[in-house]
């Protein structure tokens, strides 16, 4: 199990250009597999264009208490990129005026940003319909100063979305680190205790499932049924919905695919599972991703690959919704991850 980020290890793959090179070479260069651009062109879906903004996703920093093997952010305790209060203020100015119905805070572990609580308090006043915080669960048990997070989330009516790769200890700890399963179970029980995830409760608690290996997620509805049954029977835990998310071949997951000699087979699986119906609803068409330093991207994955939005507006300080609408989305072969099977997004399946 890795304990350091690719950045800290000074790995070749910490470099986004190197990742993009890998994604364009080999099987995609020699024509064995079609590029994403050519594939979507077959159904006249190129160029992919941004529609009306619905979801503003803000990455408040890459620092995390975990070092998950599959992390596309390459997050970890050694990452120091943290959003400043000044950038948060610029985001708040946008949040107050946006037409977006969903605000989605992510990281790293967003709670580790020293200004996280201030930001949540201010943002919750803006009256956004759905206010998501992506919490890794273990942070709630990581230190006394985080123990009251369930109450804090409740007070600000935050919608909690949490990662949980499996309902068994073995599979969970293998992907996310030793002890993660037990801490996550405890955190879920505490969220349940304040009302999160209970049937009929307005305090939304959703779980994210992503495969712990070089395979695609199964059917979201059946997985949800299995998760619900097992977590209820074994731990009396309740939650609302399960989002099945495909691992995209970038950053630490790409590193894993290459090291385990699964890269080509995985790309084949993604291309074979390509679903043109998912293309119309991929999240980049209704989402904007803001990085810790305020730059704008089509999605969190493009942020990590340092592929900026294709627009005059590049930074949250110069934000202009009308100008960003209709922009051409920046694509590469990693995009196959969002169009496989029933499709994949931060909100689960899309087709």
């Amino acid at each position: 199990m890795a304990t350091k980020s690719l950045h800290k290890r000074e790995s070749d793959l910490a470099n986004s250009n190197r990742q993009l090179e890998i994604l364009s070479n080999g099987i995609f260069q020699n024509g064995e597999l079609p590029t994403f651009k050519n594939k979507i062109a077959e159904t006249n879906q190129f160029p992919l264009k941004a529609k009306k903004l619905e979801i503003l996703q803000i990455n408040v920093g890459y620092m995390c208490n975990q070092v998950c093997e599959h992390c596309h952010v390459d997050a970890g305790p050694d990452r120091k990129e943290i959003m400043t209060r000044e950038t948060m203020q610029q985001c708040l100015d946008v949040i107050k005026n946006t037409g977006a119905h969903t605000l989605d805070l992510t990281g790293g572990a967003p709670e580790m940003n020293p200004n996280f609580r201030w930001f949540v308090e201010e943002a919750s006043k803006a009256g956004i319909k759905d206010f998501i915080v992506r919490s890794n669960l273990t942070i709630i048990r990581a230190n006394k100063k985080y123990y009251d997070l369930p109450e804090f989330f409740k007070k600000h009516n935050v919608h909690v979305v949490s990662s949980m790769p499996h309902w068994t200890r073995g599979k969970t700890d293998k992907q996310r680190g030793d002890g993660v399963f037990d801490k996550s179970i405890k955190a879920l029980q505490e969220l349940n205790a304040v009302g999160y995830g209970m049937p009929e409760s307005n305090l939304r608690l959703d779980l994210v499932y992503n495969p712990s290996g070089a395979f695609l997620p199964g059917d979201q509805a059946s997985m949800e049924k299995d998760f619900k049954k097992a977590l209820k029977e074994d731990f009396n835990i309740r939650f609302h919905n399960l989002f099945a998310i495909t691992n995209l071949p970038i950053s630490r997951f790409l590193d894993y695919l290459i090291a385990s000699e699964n890269y080509e087979d995985y790309m084949y699986s993604l291309v074979e599972a390509y679903n043109p119906a998912a293309v119309g609803n991929v999240m980049c068409t209704n989402t904007l991703s803001v990085s810790w330093d305020g730059y704008l991207f089509d999605c969190d994955f493009n942020q990590m690959l340092e592929l900026p939005v294709n627009s005059k507006v590049k930074h949250i300080s110069e934000y202009n919704e009308a100008q960003l609408e209709g922009r051409n989305i920046v694509i590469s072969q990693h995009c196959y991850g969002c169009t496989a099977g029933a499709g994949s997004s931060c909100q689960g399946v899309v087709a």
């Binding site: 499996h166 309902w167 068994t168 073995g170 599979k171 499932y209 495969p211 290996g213 395979f215 695609l216 997620p217 199964g218 059917d219 059946s222 997985m223 299995d226 998760f227 084949y268 074979e272």
Partner: protein, 111 residues
């Protein structure tokens, strides 16, 4: 001609069997797809049965396909191994139950 009887890449070409007999190929794949749909048994249960039978049939393509299918469905390795033992128990039971035939024959022939 390839040097080995089995090539993992051939699994991807399974669909090609229809090229030499479209009608029967189509009927087979339609039937195959239907069998694995959620029914009185869940798709998950069917996947485990398929995994066990893949082993008793000793079909490398099927083992490849249904191991991956199981992982995708969140089936644990403990569940997979238990399913295999069901297949193995029937295989060995099927061998040994014929022992009764052997015993009958011996008893008939011996004075």
């Amino acid at each position: 001609m390839q040097k080995t009887y089995y090539d993992p890449a051939d699994l991807k070409k399974f669909g090609k069997i229809s090229e030499w007999n479209q009608e029967l190929g189509d009927k087979f794949f339609e039937y195959y797809g239907k069998v694995f749909e959620e029914g009185a048994l869940t798709a998950r249960e069917k996947s485990l049965i398929a995994l066990a039978v893949s082993h008793t049939e000793q079909c490398p393509y099927c083992i490849d396909a249904y191991t991956k299918d199981g992982l995708q469905r969140g089936i644990t390795k403990e569940e997979m191994m238990e399913a295999l033992h069901v297949g193995a128990a029937i295989k060995s039971g099927a061998t040994l139950v014929h022992g009764v035939q052997m015993m009958n024959k011996v008893n008939k022939l011996e004075m």
